[in-house]
C-alpha cells in the first residue's frame, strides 16, 4: 500500500517535471510572448518564495519587499551595462546582487527589530518607497542610476560562450532566447525551493517559527531573536536580489517604474493567497496571480468585441476587478490561503470565534 503510494508520488513528480520541461515548447506555439509571460511568472515565484521566508517563516510583515528586487536589478544593471562601461560576467554578478540585497535586508532589519505587526508593515512600506525614490533621483550630482530614464543596454545572461538571449539550435530543436531563460529560471527556482524546504525543517527554521509564535518565549529559550530576525531579512532579501538580477538580464532595460508599491503588494498577495508558510501554496499563489491576469488580458478584449462589437471596459480594469474579487473570495472562504500550512490553519481556526 505504502509502496504503491510512493510510486504515485514519484509518478506525480515525474509528470510535473515533464510538463515544466515541455511547457515552453507548447507556449511558443501560441507565441513567444507566452514564454515571456511564463518567465515573468517564474520571477514572481522566486520573489514570493523569498518573501515567504520573512513573512511566512519568521512572521515579519514586509510591505517593501520589492526594494530588494530593485537593488538586485540595479546591482546587475550597473555592473553589466554601457552606463559605467562595466561588463562583469553573469555568474559573478548574480551572487554580488544577492549579497548587496542581503546587506539592504540587514539595513532594513536593524532599525526595525523592535517593531511588530502593523508598525513593522508601515516602516517596510516606507523603506520600499525610499529605495525607489533614491533610484529615481540618484542621477544628480553624480549620475549613478540615470534616474527615471532607467538603464538600457544591460548585458544578457551569458555563461562562457552560451548566450541566453540568442536563438540557437540545440539537439536539433530551435530554442529561442526566452525559452533558454525559462530553463535558467526553472533551475534557479529548483535551487531556491530546496533551500526553502531545508531551512524550514532545520534548527534555523524552528527558531523563526518560535519567534513568529511568541518572541518573549523564544528569547527565554535562548534564541537570539535579533540575529535570527536579521538572518530572515537577509535571506529573504538575497532571493529578491537574485530575482532582480535575472529581471535585469532578461529585460535588458530597467527603470524605477518597475519597482513601485503595487509590485510589493502583489508579492505579498501571492504569499497570502497561496498560503503563508507553505512552500507549495506560495508557488501556487504566485503562478495564479502572475498568469491569470495575463490570460484575462488576452481573452477579455476579444470576448468583448465578439459580444458587443466594441471595447466597453479596458482589460486592465477588468483584470483588477477580478483580481480584487478573487482575493476577497479567498479571504472569506480560505482565510489561511489556497494551500495553507498546517500551523497557519491551526492558528486561524483557534482565532475564529465559536
Amino acid at each position: 500500500m505504502i509502496r504503491s503510494r510512493k510510486a504515485w508520488v514519484w509518478l506525480g513528480v515525474a509528470l510535473i517535471a515533464a510538463t515544466l520541461l515541455l511547457l515552453p515548447f507548447a507556449l511558443s506555439q501560441a507565441g513567444t510572448a507566452w514564454v515571456r509571460i511564463a518567465n515573468i511568472a517564474l520571477l514572481y515565484v522566486l520573489l514570493a518564495l523569498g518573501l515567504n521566508i520573512v513573512v511566512g517563516f519568521a512572521g515579519l510583515l514586509d510591505l517593501g519587499y520589492i526594494a530588494f528586487y530593485a537593488v538586485g536589478a540595479y546591482a546587475y544593471a550597473l555592473l553589466a551595462s554601457p552606463h559605467f562601461g562595466l561588463h562583469l560576467p553573469f555568474w559573478a554578478i548574480l551572487p554580488i546582487g544577492a549579497v548587496v540585497a542581503a546587506a539592504f535586508g540587514v539595513m532594513l532589519g536593524a532599525p526595525t527589530l523592535k517593531l511588530r505587526g502593523d508598525y513593522l508593515a508601515i516602516v517596510t512600506l516606507g523603506f520600499g518607497e525610499i529605495v525607489r525614490i533614491f533610484l529615481n533621483n540618484l542621477s544628480q550630482p553624480v549620475n549613478i542610476t540615470r534616474g527615471p530614464q532607467g538603464i538600457a543596454g544591460i548585458d544578457p545572461a551569458r555563461i562562457g560562450g552560451f548566450d541566453f538571449s540568442r536563438t540557437d539550435t540545440l539537439l536539433g530543436a530551435v530554442v529561442s532566447g526566452p525559452m533558454k531563460y525559462y530553463y535558467l529560471l526553472l533551475a534557479l527556482l529548483l535551487a531556491i525551493v530546496i533551500v526553502n524546504v531545508r531551512l524550514q525543517n532545520s534548527r534555523i527554521g524552528r527558531a523563526w517559527e518560535a519567534i513568529r509564535e511568541d518572541e518573549v518565549a523564544a528569547r527565554s529559550m535562548g534564541i537570539d531573536t535579533t540575529l535570527m530576525k536579521l538572518l530572515a531579512f537577509a535571506m529573504g532579501a538575497s532571493f529578491g536580489g537574485v530575482a532582480g538580477g535575472m529581471f535585469a538580464a532578461i529585460q535588458g532595460f530597467i527603470s524605477p517604474e518597475s519597482f513601485v508599491l503595487v509590485e510589493s503588494v502583489m508579492v505579498v498577495s501571492m504569499v497570502v493567497l497561496g498560503g503563508m508558510g507553505n512552500i507549495a501554496g506560495v508557488i501556487l499563489g504566485a503562478v495564479l496571480l502572475a498568469f491569470v491576469p495575463e490570460i484575462l488580458r488576452w481573452t477579455v478584449e476579444p470576448a468583448q468585441r465578439a459580444l458587443f462589437g466594441r471595447m466597453l471596459v479596458e482589460p486592465e480594469v477588468i483584470r483588477m476587478l477580478i483580481f480584487g474579487l478573487a482575493l476577497v473570495l479567498v479571504m472569506l472562504f480560505r482565510p489561511a490561503g489556497l494551500l495553507p500550512s498546517a500551523v497557519r490553519k491551526r492558528e486561524l481556526e483557534a482565532e475564529r470565534p465559536t
Binding site: R198, R203, G205, E209, V216, A218, S220, M221, G222, V343
Partner: protein, 257 residues
Amino acid sequence: MSAPLLEAKQIGKRFGGVQALSGVSFSIGRGEIYGLIGPNGAGKTTLFNVLTGIYSPQGGTFALAGRNITGLKPDRIAAAGIARTFQNIRLFANLSVLENVMIGRHLRTRTGVVGAILRTRRVLEEERAIEKRALELLDFVGIRRRANDAAGSLPYGDQRRLEIARALATEPKLLALDEPAAGMNASETLALRRLLDSIRGGGTTILLIEHDMRLVMNVCDRVLVLDYGERIAEGPPAEVQRDPRVVEAYLGAPHAA
C-alpha cells in the same frame, strides 16, 4: 555548604513610583529546591523577570555559578544556565508538542544556515539527536503520547508539563518555575511534586514561585518570603511558617488596640 549556585545581592527594581523590589539578597545552593513566596504583588514575578533577563535591575548584582550575569539579555541568561516557565503559559501554541521541546534544544545545538542548506551528515545527526532528546524529555514529564498534537490543544496541566520539558531541553543549571501548580487539581499537583523531585534528582536546582502552600512546604528545602518588594524571611519552610512577620504579611497585623 559549597559555593552557592545563584547568588543575588541587593536586587532593586522600580517601576515609576513603585518600588517593586528593594535590596533583595539571597543565595540558592546546588541541588536545592528553593521556594519564593509572598502575598500577591509582593514582587515575586518581578524578581523572576529580573533573574531571567526580561527586566534589568536598577541596583544589585546576581551571579550564576560564580559568573556575573546581571543585566544580560534573556537569551544570554538562558545560555548561562537559567531556564524558566511562565505564570501565564507561553508555549508556541500552534506548533506541535515535539517542536516546542525541539526549539528548547536550539541553545545547545549548532547548525547554521549553510549547514541547514547543505544538510551534511553532521547536521542530520544533530537533527536526529535533537528529536531523540526531545522525545526523552516528553517521556520524562509524561506527555510523550501527545508529541504530534498542537501544543495549544493540550489540557492545562499538560501544558505546564510541556513548558517544563521545553525549559529542561536547554540544559539549565537552574530551573525557574513560575506557579507551576496554578490551576492544577490535587492529583496533578501530587504528580508535579514527584516530577520536581525527579528533576532535582537529576542534578538540576529549582527556583519555585508557588501559591500552593502545601506543595511549597512539602517540596522546598528553603523558602524566601517577599512582601512589598522586601525580603521578610528566609529559611526552611517549617521555620518560615512560624515567623510572625510572615504570618502578618499573609493574614494582616493583629489588632493593636
